[in-house]
């Protein structure tokens, strides 16, 4: 179930809130756990078993580490077992098809390729449960002895299917003692509506523009159209993903949880490393904490450092999906980060802010081309169209797009910067009453508008006049 669906908004969310607050505090984790299972099963009735299996495995591994507290070798074995099981699940369900296909092609074999559907959210919850095992091993957090609390952590519906990736240490305390307040709930609703707006008003509209462009053959695109297209995709993926994170954080708050921030105006970044400190922060943090630093981080020789960076970024790419284009996308960012770190990073720091921003945004836009086309050849053709190798540099279609979507793109650009929020905060300091009225009106109107767009998504004129 996605947050922007009517089933979620009208059925699940009100039911979840009412049930959760109707029971006494000690039963709330159980209720949250159960409704989260319903949430997951709504879209994946069968794979809920897999998630429960994953939950039990990591719970038991935690207990075993506590039991063999004084035996480092045993603890280490338990950790390795947990990580292997988690990566095994992820490997089988997400990567087996891709790996076997690649192997067949490379060695001209014909091994049978299993057709398994990707369980929703598996990339997120396996990373979360691994964070638990690793942090228990590192003694950064206590073992969770209550299976309900632990199940609640793994299955918790707000962050279950699209993040943020909440490390266990972050909410270990809130799992067992938290206070829900009206202030928190209200702040949660506010952030939820903000996220819903990003998703259905901005991301979906930009997505409509992009799907119209990406469906055409690259040879028929003028350079201007191609740039407008990838810009639309950039806005689509940002507002989709950050909107989803906002909704997740907002929902968490309603139930008394504080999830970490996941996006911090990434399109204002002035270097690629700055971009990755602002984009999908919880994923970058995970890779840094559990892969880059254990590999030695920065405290190694330069060649080793380069190798580490390359490895981390290839895996980051692969995390986004099991296909070659994601590997290329990750490798591309790895390369840019290595160049920035060892070649021109210092020069970039001294350059004017506009130069740093333009370089970064361009790098990211080109990256989105790799990201958005599963087929590397199609991506290359699209890049060539961006350079004028399609249908020239500009044409009537591009101008029509500008007129149709210019205002939307402008709105998206403005919403990608901290300026509107900063202006609104200043207004709050100067004219608190006006600020409160405006905020209320924005929330009510914004939600009504979101509902308008959500309802319209089900409008499917079936016009068989012709066919």
């Amino acid at each position: 179930m996605v947050f922007s669906s009517l089933s979620f908004l009208l059925l699940f969310l009100p039911a979840a809130v009412v049930l959760y607050f109707a029971v006494p505090r000690r039963a709330r984790n159980l209720v949250l756990f159960l409704i989260s299972l319903v949430f997951y099963a709504w879209g994946e009735p069968v794979y809920v078993v897999l998630m429960l299996f994953s939950t039990v495995v990591d719970y038991v591994h935690g207990l075993l580490m506590a039991r063999w507290d004084g035996r480092p070798a045993a603890r280490r074995a338990v950790l390795i077992s947990s990580v292997l099981i988690n990566l095994g699940l992820l490997g089988f369900f997400k990567y087996a098809g891709f790996a076997l296909t690649a192997l067949n092609q490379a060695l001209s074999l014909s091994l049978p390729v299993p057709k398994v559907a990707l369980p929703i959210g598996i990339s997120f919850y396996t990373f979360q449960t691994m964070s638990y095992s690793i942090d228990v091993y590192r003694r950064k957090c206590p073992v969770q002895r209550n299976i309900i609390s632990f199940g609640c952590y793994v299955a918790m519906f707000p962050q279950l299917i699209a993040g943020p990736i909440v490390r266990y240490v972050t909410i270990a305390q809130e799992l067992d003692c938290r206070r829900e307040t009206w202030d928190q709930f209200y702040a949660g609703v506010k952030q939820f509506i903000l996220g819903l707006g990003k998703k259905v008003l901005l991301a979906n509209s930009a997505g409509l523009m992009w799907s119209g462009i990406s469906a055409q053959s690259a040879a028929s695109l003028s350079a201007l159209t191609a740039w407008l297209g990838i810009l639309a995709f950039a806005f689509q993926i940002y507002f989709d993903f950050s909107g989803y994170s906002d909704m997740a954080i907002g929902l968490g708050r309603m139930f008394g949880f504080t999830f970490p921030e996941n996006f911090r105006y990434p399109y204002t970044a002035r270097s690629v490393s700055d971009f990755w400190r602002r984009w999908h922060i919880t994923l970058s943090t995970w890779f840094r904490e559990y892969l880059y630093i254990p590999l030695g981080g920065n405290r190694v020789s330069v060649p080793r450092n380069i190798l580490n960076l390359a490895l981390v970024w290839l895996l980051t790419g692969l995390w986004h999906g099991a296909s070659w284009n994601f590997l290329v996308w990750g490798g591309y960012f790895g390369l840019m980060l290595i160049l920035e770190k060892f070649v021109y990073g210092a020069a970039l720091k001294k350059a004017p802010a506009a130069v740093g921003w333009a370089y970064t945004f361009l790098t990211v836009l080109v990256g989105w081309v790799f990201f958005s086309f599963d087929d590397l050849g199609a991506g290359a053709r699209y890049l060539s169209a961006m350079l004028g190798g399609g249908a020239g540099f500009w044409d009537a279609a591009a101008l029509r797009l500008l007129l149709d979507y210019g205002l939307l793109l402008t709105l998206c650009a403005a919403a990608s910067t901290p300026l509107p929020a900063a202006w609104f905060a200043r207004l709050g300091a100067r004219r608190p009453r006006l600020h409160a009225v405006l905020l209320g009106a924005l929330l009510v109107l914004g939600f009504a508008l979101c509902l308008t767009y959500v309802v319209d998504a089900g409008y499917n004129p079936f016009l068989y006049f012709r066919f």
Binding site: P45, F185, A397, L408, L443, L451, T452, G458, Y459, P461
Partner: protein, 365 residues
């Protein structure tokens, strides 16, 4: 305040659900021309497979209270934001909507269709006419949004090759001369019967017929919101006026070899949303029209839906008209043609759709 807002938020969601549940489910959406989802009953198997859950989402989307209002609000808002292409329709000036065609996708198909047409025309002995139908944007390019891209229908026509003896009846001049009249609907992709009448006059000129003149017209009692309105249901769009010419011949019409009617029009369609289906009852695979014209001539029409407004006029000149729609007609056309060796043949297609239609291979089958 924060408490009131928080409770209010949940209360709004709950009441929207309650209203959806309490209001009786609507069965059919005229706007969308489709059956709406009814409240699904869960069963063990439908829940286990997830079918019930996805039906619930469809049900909520289809039965949401005031749904049409929301749909129109969104379309109108997008228009206000500068969008002039919504749901596959261009929104032009003077309240005129235009069909939007995907460019590029059709160039292969056009090559094939041109070849099918030429082969078919070469194989048929006897009189053969090709009457191309233009889209509204060819007649009213000045009403199109700036930089809108539409197929070049003149260029498509210029590539049609007909053998010696076949007659090309090009109604463009006649239509252009009449463009101040209501020859195309503003909210539907079809022409009006007034537009079809202009093409009919051109046809009579080419075929040596004496056209029916001073025909009385029957106006629909209802405003007509056509197919393009369904795609872009903006607020403030004026509906079309629909009217039908009364043809002074008596006819016996058989639809698909089953249902018979005594007239060229299905007048009950004027009380429904898609009033264009009043013309010869909308889409059918084969329509057999027998008339008392007493001319001894017969005609086979191979066509798309634009012909429905045109063919009624021809009923005054032919004793029998067989109207075949290759999108639905799946028997070999050659057999039908062989059964009627004396019949004249009229091919009439909208040019933009002719370029894309994947059914024209049936011409040479």
């Amino acid at each position: 305040m924060k408490k009131i807002f928080s409770i209010g938020f949940i209360a709004v969601l709950l009441s929207a659900l309650a209203v959806t549940l309490l209001l009786p489910d609507r069965a059919f959406s005229e706007m969308e021309n489709r059956v709406l989802t009814q409240l699904p009953k869960p069963s063990l198997s439908s829940v286990a497979s997830g079918a019930w859950m996805s039906d619930m989402e469809k049900w909520l989307a289809d039965q949401f209270p005031g749904r049409t209002f929301f749909v129109r609000a969104k379309a109108s808002l997008n228009y206000a934001l500068g969008r002039r292409e919504i749901g596959g329709a261009y929104i032009g000036s003077n309240g005129r909507l235009f069909e939007r065609f995907d460019e590029g996708a059709s160039s292969d198909q056009l090559e094939k269709n041109l070849a099918y047409l030429t082969r078919f025309a070469q194989s048929r002995e006897g009189r053969l006419y090709f009457l191309p139908v233009y889209s509204a944007f060819t007649l009213y390019p000045e009403d199109l949004p700036a930089f809108a891209s539409v197929p070049d229908e003149r260029a498509i026509l210029s590539r049609v090759e007909l053998p010696e003896g076949a007659l090309l009846v090009d109604p463009l001049d006649a239509l252009t001369a009449a463009k101040d009249q209501l020859i195309y609907f503003s909210t539907d992709h079809h022409w009006t019967q007034q537009g079809a009448y202009q093409a009919y006059l051109a046809f009579c000129g080419a075929a040596g017929l004496d056209p029916l003149k001073d025909l009385a017209r029957l106006d629909s009692p209802n405003p007509f919101y056509g197919s393009l309105f369904s795609k872009a249901p903006l607020w403030g769009l004026a509906p079309d006026e629909m009217s039908l010419y009364e043809i002074p011949v008596s006819v016996r019409v058989t639809y698909d070899g089953e249902r018979q009617a005594d007239g060229l029009y299905t007048l009950s369609a004027l009380d429904k949303k898609d009033q264009y289906t009043a013309f010869l009852d909308g889409n059918h695979a084969i329509v057999d029209i027998e008339t008392d014209a007493g001319t001894g001539r017969s005609l086979i029409v191979l066509k798309d839906s634009f012909a429905h407004a045109l063919v009624p006029f021809l009923a005054g000149h032919y004793d029998r008209i067989l109207m075949v729609d290759l999108r639905y007609y799946n028997l070999p056309l050659s057999a039908l043609l062989a059964e009627h060796p004396q019949a004249e043949v009229l091919l009439t297609y909208n040019l933009s759709w002719f370029a894309q239609d994947g059914n024209l291979f049936k011409l040479v089958r």
